[in-house]
């Protein structure tokens, strides 16, 4: 086997391995969300997560990959591996978005949006940032550095979620007579399982985004990327825990896990560029942002059962800007421009698409369905049939 063949084989294997890790984020999102919602909506959340994987991935196969990259060619690894690796990301944008509208979103209209997101919106964002770049040489050309998608994936999902929450409104009974009613999580062990699966998946998410492991230099970069990813996650968890303890003398595990995920989102834009200490700071700020953003969105009456706005939108923005702040050769203004441009495009387009779908088939489950639970009304399979259901 020639050296070139060996590189081809290694990089193909690496892409497939990373893809498998990223797909572990599907159960990650599913378990996290299943644990954070009430028992009467668990089957519904799980159905949504499973169908997003199927619908978004199929749309990416049929249309999205071509929209994003133009051609099905790759000389450095098997094109099928290159496709699968890219395909692994597409569902994540919708997973991020669907989690935040849990407990009141109807499944079928959400799948209509998944078709548009997986086939067009996300691939278009990839096109102008990582892919074929049809805006090159125009004033809208994006030159931000975003290794694995703090902006391209996380804040893309976050902006779509913001539009969706504005259209769908809060869960019934969440804000009553000017007061915020707390709806506690139903299954903390599942939340922990989901969050840690996401954490593990992130090693493929960021590590795989280096793109190649078949030279000494690339192997070093991959290893450093994964190390820095992990560092930001643990810094985020610790920071969230410390802040919660200072403020409330309690260690809310759901917030600590959201802090970890916030740190992971924040480091995603440039884990290959930082030295080994910077991710501690980036992740810690990410974790702190989550602790402050969760109550802030509540005060704005943006009901987000899983904290996806705080984790993915806020930290997607922070992480992308952080590359401009902490890496000398990266322009802060280019980072800011990328964040703003992607934000405007995704928010406006998502809002319009969601608005139109909502006119045809409304997104929001009616009060009766929300009271009884979406498991009965939408799925027909209760997650915990022999237990007493939560009120």
């Amino acid at each position: 086997m020639s050296e070139l063949d060996l590189k081809y084989v290694l990089d193909t294997f690496f892409a497939l391995f990373s893809m498998v890790l990223i797909i572990f984020m599907v159960p990650g999102f599913a378990m996290l969300e299943a644990g954070l919602v009430r028992t009467k909506n668990v089957s519904s959340v799980l159905t949504v997560n499973t169908m997003i994987y199927a619908v978004a991935s199929l749309m990416f196969l049929l249309i999205g990959y071509t929209v994003a990259f133009g051609s099905w060619e790759n000389t450095s690894m098997s094109i099928w591996a290159a496709f699968l690796f890219q395909m692994a990301f597409v569902g994540k944008t919708v997973n991020i978005m669907s989690g935040g509208v849990s407990e009141r979103v109807r499944i079928i209209p959400l799948m209509f949006f998944t078709v548009v997101m997986g086939g067009f919106i996300y691939p278009f964002i990839v096109n102008i940032s990582w892919g074929a770049d049809f805006l090159a040489d125009t004033m809208f050309d994006i030159n931000m550095y975003d290794l694995a998608g703090s902006t391209v994936i996380h804040s893309t999902g976050g902006w779509a979620l913001l539009a969706a929450i504005m259209i769908m409104g809060p869960r019934k009974g969440r804000y009553k007579d000017g007061k915020i009613k707390v709806i506690p999580a139903s299954n903390i062990p599942l939340v922990v399982l989901g969050a840690l699966l996401l954490w593990i998946g992130w090693f493929g998410f960021n590590g795989g985004s280096v793109g190649s492991i078949s030279s000494v230099e690339n192997a070093d970069t991959v290893a450093k990327t994964i190390m820095n990813t992990n560092t930001a996650g643990l810094a985020g968890a610790l920071m969230a825990g410390i802040l919660m303890y200072i403020r409330y003398r309690l260690l809310d595990i759901t917030m600590i896990l959201n802090g970890a995920l916030g740190g992971l989102v924040a480091v995603t834009a440039g884990p290959d560029l930082y030295d080994m200490y910077t991710p501690i700071l980036i992740g810690a700020i990410g974790g702190a942002l989550v602790v402050f953003a969760v109550p802030m969105f509540d005060r704005l009456r943006l009901d987000d059962p899983v904290g996806a706005l705080s984790v993915h939108l806020v930290n997607g923005i922070w992480g992308t800007l952080a590359v401009g702040l902490f890496v000398e050769k990266i322009s802060f203004l280019e980072q800011l421009k990328g964040v703003a441009e992607v934000g405007v495009i995704v928010f406006v387009v998502s809002f319009i698409v969601l608005f139109i779908i909502n006119k045809i088939v409304r997104f929001r489950a009616d009060d009766e369905a929300q009271i009884e639970g979406l498991d009965v009304q939408e799925v027909g399979v209760e997650a915990y049939p022999e237990f007493k259901r939560a009120i």
Partner: protein, 112 residues
């Protein structure tokens, strides 16, 4: 025959059951319940927001004893279930008209 219904703190179940077995209470039915009394529930914190948990978990014990046994049963439960802190629970005593043991058809005191 009297029915003795006691709502107690869950962690006191073993103690109360053992004490009752010692004085000769032959059977009981236990259920997990939730409730509150004059002190109401307590508040918890979720993602930085406080909320009140109105209903606290309790154990409800149901048993039927002969008239002579009532006082001893009640005092045994009081002794075994008391912690002195809020939420120790309550005991209700009421009359029972008839008891039938399904397997044998025995009635009243024989069926306790």
């Amino acid at each position: 025959m009297k029915r003795v219904e006691a709502v107690i703190k869950p962690f006191k179940l073993e103690d109360v059951k053992d004490a009752l077995a010692e004085i000769g209470v032959t059977g009981m039915t236990v259920s997990e319940v939730k409730g509150y009394g004059r002190q109401k529930g307590h508040s918890e914190l979720y993602r930085g927001a406080e909320y009140v948990v109105d209903f606290l978990p309790k154990i409800k014990m149901d048993m039927v004893v002969s008239d002579e046994m009532v006082d001893q049963t009640v005092s045994t439960i009081v002794e075994a279930a008391r912690t002195g802190k809020i939420g120790d629970g309550k005991i209700f005593v009421s009359d029972v008209d008839k008891i039938i043991r399904i397997r044998t058809g025995e009635e009243d005191n024989e069926a306790i």
